[in-house]
């Protein structure tokens, strides 16, 4: 039986009945949200009218504030309850199906200190959120990852603050199969292009990362810029076979992944625009295609151990 047929039988025997039940709850919650939107037009309209008559924005702000309060107090709890149930019943099953040595905590996230330790993103973080934390030990390799969203804050001339994304996606950390002392970074140059005027600032930061390392694999060099504190140790870590495997992983994900090797651990960041592992509110959730998508997203990262052969322990690190 292939992986897909196994997943299908899990779906049919276990997930589909749960999904059908959850779908009923979803419809209820969706209904509440739709009603809320429809009804809140009234107080918004009233406060808008008052604002125009009085000439002061206070009523409009009050009206909006009231609606927002009402949403978070009365509507949001239902959405959160549905979401939690979905994660506990469906996402957890898929993770256990992939490998029951993994544990899942939907509200936990990779710590900010781990994010900083990876050294992949050097900007100061002003706001840090995340969820869907998965952890496990597969043979000799300890692995943990979660969704994270790190942002920095700017204040414009009028004093208004706004937040901008430093990184949004998956942060993954695993035990690496070799001992090493220096830090090595495998980065895509894209970050500097994205950050424009900060680009030159970042290049100076990159000097802090160590020397530029030029490796022999032409394809690898095209995709990544490698920095390290030691020319030999970086090549000890990035053997020709590992470079090939990293490339094939990058091609599988089709994302701008970045990596770092710090403290005998491997860190990988995979950017995602969408929020992963979230149930839909509007739209059917029962279809098998949804389950396939969750499974593929999860498998991509959880497979990293196999893809990068992290369980090959033939050197001094056991």
């Amino acid at each position: 039986m292939t992986e897909k047929t196994n997943l299908e039988s899990l779906y049919n025997s276990n997930l589909k009945p749960k999904l059908s039940k959850l779908d009923k709850e979803r419809i209820q919650v969706a209904g509440k949200v739709k009603k809320f939107i429809a009804i809140s037009i009234i107080p918004i309209a009233i406060s808008f009218y008052l604002t125009l008559t009085i000439g002061n924005e206070l009523p409009l702000l009050a009206g909006i504030g009231l609606c927002v309060w009402f949403y978070f107090a009365k509507i949001n709890p239902f959405w959160q309850a549905y979401r939690t149930k979905f994660k506990e019943q469906v996402i957890k099953e898929i993770i256990t199906f992939i490998d029951n040595r993994f544990s899942y905590s939907p509200t936990k996230k990779m710590s900010l200190s781990e994010f900083k330790k990876s050294g992949i993103f050097l900007m100061g973080v002003d706001r840090y959120r995340g969820d869907d934390y998965i952890e496990g030990k597969i043979d000799s390799t300890h692995v943990e990852f979660s969704e994270v969203h790190a942002e920095y804050r700017t204040r414009d001339s009028k004093g208004r603050t706004s937040y901008h994304t430093i990184f949004k996606g998956l942060l993954f950390s695993a035990d690496f199969n070799k001992h090493f002392n220096v830090k090595t970074y495998v980065l895509t140059d894209v970050a500097e292009k994205m950050f424009g005027f900060l680009g030159t600032k970042l290049q100076k930061m990159n000097k802090w990362r160590g020397e530029l390392v030029k490796l022999e694999d032409v394809e690898f060099e095209k995709e990544f810029a490698i920095y390290s504190g030691d020319q030999i140790e970086s090549r000890y870590i990035l053997s020709p076979s590992l470079m090939e495997r990293i490339l094939s992983f990058k091609q599988k994900t089709k994302k701008r992944i970045q990596m770092s090797f710090v403290d005998s651990r491997l860190y990988v960041t995979v950017p995602y625009r969408k929020n992963l592992f979230e149930p839909k509110l509007f739209g059917d959730i029962v279809d098998f295609k949804n389950i396939e998508e969750y499974h593929n997203d999860l498998n991509l990262v959880l497979d990293l151990i196999k893809t990068l052969k992290l369980n090959t322990r033939i050197w001094s690190k056991k």
Binding site: H179, V213, E216, I232, R235, Y236, S239, W315
Partner: protein, 185 residues
């Protein structure tokens, strides 16, 4: 008159930059060779222990083990030219590789915890040596680029700096390397 002065200063600056860059690359090559030397020494340190652990079990490999010991002694004897160092390294890589493959025929040895540890250390040293060879080659490539590409090649010619050979990285060779010449030198 002033213009000529500025042009002269400009040329002098360019000259200085090119000169420094060539010297820098030459020194990096030496530095990288030194790094490789350090890794090779680590391997030489492991050899006596390996030979001792394995000799009791591997009767058929006795000749290879002796060769390995002799190669090591030669490498550590001092007065070894850089080219000889490279040749000795290649020979040892091949011989050690042969032993590690032959181990498959001795299940008792394979099961031994002591040998396992040794094998891990050896694997690690071999990977480090491989990494240092690659790092050395990178410096050679960078140096050769400067020596051969315009305009630094003009200056390199004047300084009589010549192209260096890239280190050929041997795959674990299964054929027997003829060490006769090396041992008789």
């Amino acid at each position: 008159m002033n213009n000529i002065l500025w042009v002269a200063i400009g040329l002098a600056v360019v000259f200085a930059i090119m000169y420094n860059s060539l010297i820098n690359k030459k020194n990096q090559v030496e530095n990288a060779f030194g790094g490789m030397d350090a890794q090779l020494k680590k391997r030489y340190d492991l050899i006596p222990n390996l030979v001792k652990s394995v000799k009791g079990y591997m009767e058929h490999e006795a000749k290879t083990l002796t060769e390995i010991t002799t190669l090591r002694t030669k490498a550590l004897s001092g007065n070894v030219s850089d080219d000889d160092k490279v040749a000795l390294d290649n020979a040892l890589t091949s011989k050690l590789g042969g032993i590690m493959v032959a181990v498959e025929n001795y299940p008792d040895l394979k099961a031994s915890e002591n040998f396992n540890q040794l094998q891990r250390s050896l694997n690690e040293v071999e990977e480090q040596i491989s990494a240092s060879r690659r790092a050395y080659n990178a410096t050679i490539t960078s140096y050769n680029n400067s020596v051969e590409m315009f305009p630094t090649n003009l200056l390199a010619g004047m300084l009589n700096m010549q192209r260096k050979n890239v280190f050929e990285i041997p795959e674990t060779q299964r054929e027997n390397v003829d060490v006769g010449d090396l041992l008789n030198n």
